[in-house]
C-alpha cells in the first residue's frame, strides 16, 4: 500500500528531516509512528499525502509514485488518502453534517450519494444525532470524531493521522482509538504518528520509531520505548 525506498528529505533551509528511509506498509495494517519531537514523524506523514516530495528515493502510495506525480494529478492521490490532524481542522461556520459533506461536495459527488454516505459515517462515529450542531457546540473528542468521519467518508484505502489524540484527555483518547480500530477492521490501512505511550503500549500494533530522520526500530506488536 505504502512503499518508501531510500527516501531522503532535505528542506530548503538545510534541515535533513529524513535520510535513507525504507518502509513497506501493507494494505490493512495499523502502524504507529513514534519518536521525539522533530525526529521526522510529521515529514514521514506529509510524504504520504504529498504535501512534501522526497528529495531523493521513491514514495509509492496505492501504486502512485508521489515524486513524479504531476501537480494536476495530486487530487487523484488525495482522494485515496484520508487525513486526520491534532487540531481537527473543522470549518467553524458549517454544521457537523456540512463539514463531512464538504469533503464530498468539493470532489463533485452526486448529491444523493453525499446524503447517504454522510449519514452512514456519522452513524459509524456515533454522532448522527448531532448532525445539525456546530463544531463549537461539541467536545474535543466529538470534534475529532467529526474529523475522522470526514477523512473516511470517501472510502479511502488509507487514513493518515498526525497526533490525533494530542489535544484530548485520556478517556476521550481511548474512544478515538477504538474508532480507529473499527475503521482498521473494515480493511482501511492506518498510519498514526503519536506521543501517547499508554495507547501504544496497550493497543499493541506495529511500531516504527524514527530518530534524527532514521528508522531506529520497526517491530510488530512493539512498545512505545520512550519515557512519556
Amino acid at each position: 500500500m505504502i512503499d518508501m525506498k531510500g527516501v531522503t528529505k532535505k528542506y530548503s533551509n538545510g534541515v535533513t528531516a529524513l535520510s535513507s528511509v525504507d518502509v513497506t506498509i501493507k494494505q490493512g495494517e495499523f502502524v504507529y509512528i513514534v519518536g521525539p519531537s522533530g525526529a521526522g514523524k510529521s515529514t514521514f506523514i506529509k510524504l504520504i499525502y504529498r504535501e512534501e516530495k522526497p528529495s531523493s528515493g521513491t514514495v509509492t502510495v496505492g501504486g502512485i509514485n508521489t515524486a513524479t506525480l504531476r501537480q494536476r494529478s495530486v487530487p487523484a492521490l488525495r482522494r485515496k488518502v484520508g487525513v486526520v490532524f491534532q487540531d481537527f481542522k473543522l470549518l467553524p461556520l458549517l454544521t457537523v453534517y456540512e463539514n463531512v459533506a464538504f469533503a464530498l461536495e468539493v470532489i463533485e459527488e452526486e448529491p444523493n450519494m453525499i446524503r447517504k454516505r454522510v449519514m452512514e459515517v456519522l452513524d459509524l462515529v456515533g454522532l448522527k444525532h448531532k448532525a445539525r450542531m456546530l463544531p463549537t457546540e461539541l467536545s474535543g473528542g466529538e470534534q475529532q470524531r467529526v474529523a475522522i468521519a470526514r477523512s473516511i467518508v470517501n472510502n479511502p484505502k488509507v487514513v493518515i493521522a498526525d497526533e490525533p489524540t494530542g489535544n484530548l484527555d485520556p478517556d476521550t483518547s481511548w474512544d478515538i482509538m477504538r474508532l480507529f480500530g473499527m475503521i482498521n477492521e473494515r480493511g482501511t490501512t492506518i498510519v498514526m504518528a503519536t506521543h501517547n505511550k499508554d495507547i501504544v503500549n496497550t493497543l499493541r500494533r506495529r511500531v516504527i520509531a524514527i530518530e534524527n530522520g532514521r528508522i531506529v526500530r520497526d517491530e510488530q506488536r512493539g512498545d512505545y520505548g520512550y519515557e512519556a
Binding site: 513524479t68 494536476r72 487523484a76 464538504f102 448529491p111
Partner: protein, 302 residues
C-alpha cells in the same frame, strides 16, 4: 501515467461556484466595498483621462491638418510664371493640394477677421497674391516650405514655423504622458483588487487547505474567487460608465455651442462614448479576474 481528475464542469458545480462567489462578497462586505470603490475610482479617472486625451488628440489632429504653407508670389510675376510656379509646387512629393488666392481675396479675408478698419488698405493693397499649399503629412510642412522658397517667383514661404514645431512636440508629449498615466492607474487598480481578494482568500485559507487535503482540483478551488473578482470588477464599473455616458453628453452640449466657430470640436457622442465605455468594461473584467488569479495562485501551493 496516473489518470488526473475529470475537469469538465457539471451544471451543479457551476451553480455552486456562483453561490460561493456571492457568499464571499457578502461575508467580506467591507472589503468588497473597498475593492469596488478602488475599481470605481480607478476606472473613473481612467475614463475621464481617456475622454480628455482622445479629444485633445482630435484637436491636435484638427490643428495639424490645418497647418499650411502660404507662398507669397513676387509682385512682378506674370500669369504664365504663376502657372509655372503652380506646376513646380504641385510636383513636390509632399504637396497634397494647392489653391490660389489673389491679394484682393486676401484683403477681404483680413477685413473679415480683423475688422473694417482694414478697409483703408483697399486704396493701396499691400498684400501679395498667395498660393495656399497643404502637405499630405503635417510633419512635412517645414521641408516643403524650404523647397518652395528656392523657386524663382517665390517672395517668401510662411508657415508659422515655431507654432508648428511646438504643437508637434506638445502632442507627442501629451500622448506619451497619457499612455503612462493610464498604465499606472490600471496597475494600481489591479494591485488593489489583488490585495482585496487576497484578504478574502486569507479569511478562507482553512477552507482551501481542507479542500486541497480531500482532493479538490485547483480549478474547483479557483473558480469562486475568479468569479468574485469578476463581480467586483463589474460592480465597480457601473458608476464610472454611467458618469462618462451622462457626463460627456452634457459636456459636449455645453461646450459644442461655444466651440462651434472654432477650428476644433468635441468628438461626437456615440463614436466616443461607445468605445470608451466598452474599453472600461473590458478593463474592469480583466483587472478583476487577473487580480484574483494572482492572489489565488499563492494559496494553492499545498
Amino acid at each position: 501515467m496516473n489518470s488526473g481528475v475529470t475537469t469538465a464542469m457539471k451544471p451543479r458545480t457551476l451553480r455552486r461556484h456562483f453561490r460561493e462567489s456571492f457568499k464571499n462578497l457578502r461575508r467580506n462586505g467591507w472589503m468588497t466595498f473597498a475593492a469596488i470603490s478602488a475599481v470605481t475610482v480607478t476606472l473613473l479617472l481612467t475614463g475621464i483621462f481617456l475622454v480628455i486625451m482622445l479629444n485633445v488628440n482630435k484637436a491636435g489632429t484638427d490643428i495639424e491638418r490645418d497647418v499650411e504653407v502660404r507662398v507669397h508670389i513676387k509682385l512682378d510675376t506674370t500669369e504664365a510664371e504663376k502657372e509655372q510656379l503652380k506646376q513646380q509646387i504641385s510636383s513636390l512629393p509632399e504637396v497634397e493640394s494647392i489653391t490660389y488666392s489673389s491679394k484682393e481675396q486676401e484683403l477681404q479675408n483680413l477685413i473679415k477677421d480683423m475688422g473694417s478698419d482694414y478697409a483703408l488698405f483697399e486704396q493701396s493693397n499691400p498684400l501679395y497674391d498667395v498660393y495656399v499649399v497643404k502637405t499630405a503629412r503635417p510633419q512635412d510642412t517645414p521641408d516643403a516650405a524650404r523647397k518652395i522658397e528656392q523657386f524663382a517667383q517665390t517672395e517668401k514661404a510662411v508657415y508659422g514655423e515655431e507654432e508648428v514645431k511646438n504643437l508637434f512636440s506638445f502632442m507627442k508629449t501629451a500622448r506619451n504622458v497619457g499612455a503612462v498615466l493610464v498604465a499606472g492607474l490600471l496597475f494600481t487598480a489591479m494591485f488593489l483588487i489583488s490585495n482585496t481578494i487576497k484578504i478574502t482568500i486569507f479569511a478562507r485559507r482553512k477552507e482551501i487547505e481542507i479542500m486541497k487535503l480531500v482532493g479538490a482540483t485547483n480549478w474547483f478551488i479557483r473558480w469562486p474567487f475568479l468569479l468574485e473578482g469578476l463581480w467586483i470588477g463589474l460592480l465597480g464599473s457601473i458608476l464610472p460608465i454611467a458618469a462618462i455616458a451622462i457626463g460627456y453628453y452634457y459636456a459636449e452640449q455645453a461646450f459644442s455651442a461655444q466651440l462651434a466657430s472654432q477650428l476644433v470640436d468635441f468628438i461626437d457622442y456615440l463614436p466616443l462614448v461607445l468605445p470608451v465605455t466598452a474599453l472600461m468594461l473590458v478593463m474592469a473584467v480583466f483587472i478583476g479576474i487577473w487580480g484574483s488569479f494572482l492572489s489565488v495562485r499563492r494559496f494553492l501551493k499545498i
